[in-house]
């Protein structure tokens, strides 16, 4: 170990490979893979961008305790919600964050089932993103209640009131779905980490190795371990796939089971799931593009990765647009005056701008992805991703406040305007997310080393 210091850092200087159409630039051995990725955490110098970002994130994060603290103390009235608009930023952001989370699970589970090699480089990263996104999402259902200190009443536990949750309510389904999703995501992520933690254990110095060693559970890469390990991963993937579909379906039930025009829609489950993946990939790109640059990971996250992600984003985006079309069509086809009024309110009501912005962000902006050059241009992808993130947030705005602010009885119609506390909570949660994300990058291997190793062409193959 003594021989091990920074001078021995990354063995290969980062070289920009033009349009590498591979999932791994083939100039790596198992060794260099380990050194490069473990090095990011263990010995390579931390890029200054990391310090900048985490500092900003930490400051922004302070908005969260401030906003929520006041909310708990003074009342939910600090938010812009009212009658008729009982849900505003709280549920919008909840759905938005949950959606973002979905990309991670999709990449690690669904793509694993389809044996997509390109998932390996981004899975770890995306799963971490899932966990943090779900943590942010989880804040809202708790704090959106009028009496958060009683939110635990949504859990089924024996009590002196002999009362239980009311299982017909989609909110109770949410509790089951989101908690399961969070737990399974964390398990999946951790299981994936174990072999790499062993690697870190064997590379780290000083006290670090004990921490990694503790977390690695004494993993020793035994063939028998690998055997069960792979079985478990495969099963987890098989379980996570229906899980991830169910979670956003259930979230969409919050609205689909209601009878408000604009909520009461059977197309919601599929198009919420598609939307979730859509938003999720946008967020993965948003994070992956700068990180890959700052840490010189172009060998592992190649243009091929970017293009594939762009393709998924494009496909799901088109599904979402189909959903929007269907809403319009059904409003007309149903012949129901309330449905039609709902559509008209979107098209030319007081919030029409949001609706059209939604079309631009989620419908128009992604059309550029028809072109290969665009799918491979980090700049284009980064910008499109920003559009999509905003667009998906707008979608939830259009669905939630815009449907209830004008429903059946015109006399009860009203408007919804967010307050500083709405914004504080929202922006604060973004800070929280970024903060955790960058802590993760600094402390754990952000790319799965043992999986990348399986991509390394061995001399045997390399020859012919």
């Amino acid at each position: 170990m003594a021989a091990h210091d920074h001078s021995l850092g990354p063995v290969l200087p980062p070289v920009k490979i033009e349009h590498a159409d591979v999932v791994l630039v083939q100039r790596h051995s198992n060794t260099t893979v380990t050194d490069k990725i473990a090095g990011v955490v263990l010995w390579s110098p931390t890029p200054k961008q990391w310090f900048v970002i985490i500092a900003i994130a930490f400051m922004v994060l302070q908005l969260l305790p401030f906003s929520l603290g006041n909310l708990v103390v003074q009342g939910i009235g600090l938010w812009g919600i009212n009658s008729p608009v009982g849900w505003g930023f709280d549920i919008i952001n909840f759905v938005w964050w949950i959606g973002i989370g979905h990309a991670g699970t999709l990449i690690s589970a669904v793509l694993l089932l389809f044996r997509q090699e390109w998932r390996m480089a981004i899975a770890r990263f995306a799963e971490a993103m899932t966990i943090f996104a779900v943590m942010c999402a989880g804040l809202y259902p708790v704090f959106h209640t009028g009496r958060p200190w009683l939110a635990y009443w949504l859990l089924p536990y024996p009590n002196t009131m002999a009362l239980w949750p009311q299982p017909r309510s989609p909110l109770v389904w949410d509790v089951f779905a989101v908690s399961t999703y969070a737990t399974v995501s964390i398990l999946f992520w951790y299981v994936g980490l174990i072999p790499d933690l062993a690697t870190m254990r064997d590379r780290a110095k000083g006290f670090g190795k004990y921490i990694y060693g503790f977390l690695a559970l004494g993993w020793r890469g035994s063939a028998k371990h690998w055997h069960r390990y792979e079985t478990a991963s495969l099963l987890l993937a098989g379980l996570s796939t229906p899980l991830v579909l169910s979670v956003h379906s259930i979230v969409s039930f919050d609205f689909a089971t209601g009878l408000i025009p604009g909520w009461h829609t059977t197309v919601f489950p599929p198009y919420f799931v598609a939307g979730a993946v859509f938003a999720g990939f946008a967020m993965v790109l948003t994070l992956a593009i700068p990180v890959r640059k700052w840490y010189g990971l172009e060998d592992f996250i190649t243009d091929r990765h970017l293009e594939n992600m762009a393709k998924v984003m494009f496909a799901t985006g088109m599904i979402v647009c189909y959903g929007y079309f269907l809403e319009v069509f059904m409003a007309w086809y149903s012949g129901n005056e309330y449905e039609w009024a709902m559509l008209m309110n979107r098209v030319k009501g007081p919030y029409a701008a949001m609706y059209w912005a939604l079309w631009i962000c989620n419908g128009l902006s992604i059309q550029i992805l028809w072109f290969k050059w665009a799918r491979r241009s980090t700049t284009v992808l980064f910008i499109v991703s920003q559009f999509v993130s905003v667009g998906m947030w707008l979608e939830r705005f259009v669905i939630i406040p815009m449907s209830i602010h004008r429903d059946f009885i015109p006399a009860s119609w009203g408007m919804y305007y967010p307050t500083v506390f709405d914004w504080g909570t929202f922006i604060g949660s973004m800070g929280f997310f970024t903060f955790l994300m960058f802590l993760f990058i600094r402390g754990l291997p952000m790319i799965s080393m043992f999986e990348i190793r399986t991509l390394v062409k061995r001399p045997a193959e390399a020859n012919h």
């Binding site: 103390v73 003074q74 009342g75 009028g146 009496r147 129901n336 429903d407 059946f408 015109p410």
Partner: protein, 1001 residues
């Protein structure tokens, strides 16, 4: 348990109050810990402002809370965790138990409350352990028949108002009644020496015979003294009109139920003015069953009123046009007055024909604020039509002294200016605030040497008086009043004066050296003297009268009156037309007397749906002319500035401004709400400013309005038809939706036991708001303040939706009370994650506050949007006196919980318990909801749908019966009786309205 007998204020450990504190929330606990933690003075101030009244102080929302935010955040957890256990609770039993007080059971007493013009409203008051908590109408009382108006309902809050004058003030410093009495005695000495010269008594209109007698006694003892009555919204015009017509200021009493055709001339007789509550009932009785003898109402008025919106034909007209119309009508009907021309001849022609066709069964009513001429003409027309004695009769004025108040006031001010007045005793009223601007009353008042003020509040007038003596609230008084028909209505105190209050007659007694007597006896002796001789067993009779709240058969006898020849001549010339500003008492706070009543301030005005503000009401055209829109500030006659509110259906050229606002010294609630229109008033022209300059200042103001959208969007919400359409198709309201059958995949729930249901007859509803306030009083509903109303967070369990239909210049106006529908398939219940809202075996949609965690999902999913959420701690936990007001049978909700109409389940439960104790079924009519009880026109029905003999079953069997949004499959228990209008064929129906059918196609 609760207050001891004769203990003025409820003891600090009032069971209800403690219960309230223990109510599910962590809120009160938290606030207590916050106070403790931060005793800083500004903190106290903040708490007071934010929570003692919980009103406009919220206004600049977040910013003014900044100061406590950080502190609050840090205290948060402490506050929340520190209250997992109940603090020990004290029981405070009586020392000597009063008779017939059973702890936990309310008692009901009959009493009376003076309204505008001192006219009595007969009431029954519910008292919990000597705490009056709820006012109901007195079914025995001719002026009530069980109904009440919004002001009477809200009077209970007036009683407990913490801002009332609480102690005797001498030149602003605390003093005592003992001191006051001493100086009154001195005063008496001086007066005796000078026969009372230089002494003046200024009161509001007095209808109380006993008080009247005391005043007469005073004037007899001190012949040089003078008594002046003044009320800004008094009945001068009516009296003047009667003088012109009959030579004496007789009071007209209408028999609306006898009239087939009614013409209302600038009159809101269904909601305001003496007898309105009774008239509303009588009017509705002729419309409940359109099939049999439905009446027809023509309304000619400058600004839409509930009466106007109930009319079959409504004609917007400036006050000049109204008078013109009256003159023309009189001429056409041969009342012997000169002919006149009118703008809308067709309307006139139709009305004339209709009236002529219904001689003896028709009625013309002139409005309280209509000029004397219109009153006179109305009398003349009724005479000409032979209505006198049939649909209207005349009685001696109900006032003790039917003087011309404006003249009296003018003379008084003159004398004050001239320094002829040494002592002025101002009892009630508030002249400094509400006298016409041109009189400069305040300035004149300062010239008076001794200024004594007896008032409920230490108000604007009190501020310039040497002595401020707290006046007792009507519910703290013994006394007698006359009702609209002269019936003597008796007052008995429900509670000893909360704040040292005394009534005028007590003060007079000191001046007359007749002090020391119980007022109870003073009143009784007065009547013994009046009728004792003619009444055997007077004491028993009196006991019964007190119990009934009125002296049976004391209604004034009908007077035979004859029209004077000089009538035509004395009418004078028709008034000049042109742009005008009309002054009207506010439908809620009236002349300003209720300005500190938070319930009335937050109660949406019937037509504009404004709260916490008065406005410059304009027709759309007028607004356009002045380039004004809702909220833009305009300056009137360079005297007052106020925000514009556009009212469809208002007469072009008529701007209407409500009096009663811009109070500067009344209390936390009323101070600085709106602007005072008294500045526009002149003693010559109290109700109308002709050709006032209107200048748009360019800036604007936010108005708190509870209904932003006035159109029905073509949806079948208020369903209505003309009488013809109704006769052709009695089930017009539902025949469309009957076409498609709704079915459910789920089996239906059966309701074997009771099955509660409610119905509202839209034909009877005038939109008068009485039900909303009654509900607020019964169910401890908090007030939220202007800012919160603005954010769409008002808490009323009954909202009265107001829809305009047809042309913007003269639309049909519909009122629809909407409360929880108690849907059998309630969309709100299925989505509640904690089963806080569920369905009862009796079909009630139960809201369990203490289980609610406040996800608001139920409210989102409620298609009727009748659920209300406590976004902040709206209930006032800190003001002791308000604890006394609360209904102990209803939980006081706290922060973060949902609430909504419960069909007054507390009343159902009491009825069920009483019935079960006798193991019998609840009888029909045994459960009366607060709104049903209060409704003047009896538009609300409630009862057991499984009791086939019950009234509700009959009502719901009516062909007009329909429910809202039935196509959603919610199966509401609340339904409506569709509106049927009775338009005159000669006139095009007001709204080009073909009946709006059920179902949405």
């Amino acid at each position: 348990m609760s207050s001891q007998p004769n203990l003025p204020i409820p003891p600090p450990l009032d069971l209800e109050a403690i219960r309230a504190r223990l109510d599910e929330s962590k809120g009160p606990q938290f606030w207590r810990s916050l106070e403790e933690a931060a005793g800083a003075p500004e903190f106290q101030a903040w708490l007071d402002h934010e929570f003692t009244d919980g009103t406009s102080e919220w206004s600049d929302g977040v910013s003014r809370r900044r100061m406590v935010e950080l502190l609050g955040a840090t205290l948060g957890l402490a506050g929340l965790t520190s209250c997992t256990k109940q603090p020990p609770e004290k029981i405070v039993p009586y020392v000597t138990a009063p008779e017939d007080v059973v702890p936990g059971r309310p008692l009901t007493f009959a009493s009376s409350i003076p309204g505008v013009g001192g006219v009595a409203a007969g009431v029954l008051v519910e008292s919990h352990m000597n705490r009056p908590t709820k006012i109901e109408g007195n079914p025995e009382h001719p002026g009530s028949r069980g109904g009440t108006d919004a002001q009477t309902q809200a009077a209970i809050l007036g009683l407990w108002d913490p801002d009332r004058a609480q102690t005797v003030l001498r030149e602003g410093r605390n003093s005592t009644w003992q001191r006051a009495d001493e100086s009154l005695k001195l005063l008496r000495e001086q007066m005796l020496s000078r026969k009372g010269a230089g002494f003046r008594l200024l009161t509001e209109t007095v209808t109380s015979p006993s008080t009247g007698a005391a005043i007469k006694d005073l004037l007899a003892t001190f012949p040089e003294a003078k008594w002046v009555q003044y009320e800004p919204a008094g009945r001068d015009n009516a009296r003047a009109g009667a003088r012109i017509a009959f030579g004496e200021p007789v009071t007209a009493v209408y028999h609306v139920d006898q009239a087939a055709v009614i013409v209302a001339l600038d009159s809101d007789f269904l909601v305001s003015g003496p007898g309105a509550v009774r008239y509303a009932r009588d009017f509705a009785d002729r419309r409940r069953n359109p099939a049999s003898g439905m009446n027809r109402l023509y309304a000619v008025e400058p600004t839409p009123t509930p009466t106007g919106s109930s009319a079959d034909h409504r004609l917007p007209a400036t006050s000049a046009e109204v008078e013109g119309f009256a003159r023309a009508l009189a001429a056409e009907l041969g009342a012997g007055t000169p002919a006149a021309t009118v703008k809308n001849a067709a309307f006139l022609k139709a009305a004339v024909a209709d009236l002529a066709a219904n001689k003896g069964a028709s009625l013309v009513i002139a409005g309280e604020q209509a000029p004397p001429a219109v009153h006179a003409l109305a009398h003349a027309i009724n005479a000409a039509l032979g209505n006198i004695g049939k649909t209207v009769h005349y009685i001696d004025p109900v006032e003790v002294s039917p003087a011309d108040q404006a003249a009296g006031l003018k003379e008084l001010v003159g004398e004050m200016q001239a320094g002829k007045v040494d002592t002025l005793l101002i009892a009630g009223g508030n002249p400094v605030y509400n006298t016409p601007a041109d009189l400069k009353f305040a300035a004149a008042l300062r010239k008076v040497k001794v200024r004594i003020r007896l008032g409920e509040y230490d108000d604007e007038t009190g501020a310039v008086c040497h002595w401020v003596l707290p006046m007792a609230h009507p519910l703290e008084c013994w006394g007698d009043l006359r009702a609209f028909d002269g019936t003597v209505s008796l007052m008995q105190p429900l509670i000893a004066p909360l704040y040292e209050g005394k009534q005028l007659i007590e003060v007079l007694a000191v001046l007359l050296e007749k002090g020391g007597r119980e007022i109870r006896d003073v009143v009784k002796e007065h009547w013994r003297a009046q009728i004792g001789a003619s009444t055997p067993h007077f004491d028993d009779f009196w006991q019964k009268s007190i119990h009934d709240g009125l002296i049976a058969g004391s209604a004034s006898p009908a007077k035979t009156v004859a029209l004077r020849k000089e009538l035509a001549a004395e009418l004078g010339a028709a008034p000049a037309g042109g742009d005008e500003v009309l002054l009207r008492p506010c439908p809620n706070v009236q002349d300003g007397r209720h300005a500190n009543n938070a319930w009335l301030q937050e109660l949406p005005r019937p037509i504009s749906k404004l709260t916490w503000d008065n406005a410059v009401l304009m027709s759309p055209a007028t607004a356009q002319k002045h380039g004004a829109s809702n909220g833009s500030m305009v300056r009137l006659a360079n005297a007052v500035t106020g925000p514009v509110w556009i009212v469809p259906g208002q007469a072009d050229g008529s701007i209407v401004v409500h009096l009663g606002y811009g109070r500067t010294r009344v209390g936390k609630i009323g101070n600085g709400v709106g602007f005072s229109a008294y500045a526009l008033r002149t003693s010559a022209n109290p109700w109308r400013v002709l050709g006032a300059e209107v200048r748009n200042t360019g800036d604007s103001q936010v108005m708190a309005v509870t209904q932003e959208h006035g159109s029905m969007e073509g949806r079948a919400i208020v369903r209505k038809a003309s009488l013809d359409e109704y006769t052709k198709q009695p089930d017009f309201a539902t025949h469309e939706e009957k076409k498609h059958k709704l079915f459910s995949l789920y089996p239906e729930w059966k309701y074997e036991g009771y099955s509660w249901g409610l119905a509202v007859d839209l034909n009877a509803c005038t939109g008068c708001n009485a039900c909303t306030i009654a509900c607020q009083a019964e169910n401890n509903i908090p007030v939220v303040g202007k800012d919160q109303v603005n954010r769409g967070r008002e808490m009323h369990w009954i909202r009265i939706d107001r829809y305009f239909e047809g042309s913007i210049d003269n639309p049909a106006i519909h009122h629809q009370p909407v409360m929880c529908m108690h849907c059998e398939n309630a969309p709100c219940e299925g989505v509640c994650p904690v089963a806080a809202t569920t369905h009862s075996e009796e079909g009630l949609n139960q809201m369990t506050y203490n289980r609610c965690v406040g996800t608001r999902y139920c409210a989102n999913n409620c298609p009727y949007k009748v659920r209300r959420f406590n976004f902040f701690l709206y209930s006032d936990w800190d003001t002791k006196s308000l604890h006394g007001l609360r209904n102990p049978d209803v939980t006081v909700r706290s922060r973060g919980v949902m609430e909504k109409c419960s069909y007054c389940v507390q009343r159902i439960n009491w009825a069920r318990i009483d019935a079960e104790r006798e193991s019998r079924r609840i009888k029909d009519g045994e459960v009366v909801t607060a709104c049903q009880a209060a409704c003047p026109s009896g538009a609300i029905y409630f009862g057991d749908l499984n009791d086939k003999t019950s009234q509700i079953v009959k009502v719901k069997a009516d062909t007009r019966n329909y429910a809202l949004l039935t196509d959603l499959g919610t199966k509401p228990r609340t339904s409506y009786l569709a509106k049927v209008t009775n338009p005159n064929q000669e006139l095009a129906p007001r709204a080009e309205a073909k009946p709006a059918h059920g179902g949405n196609h």
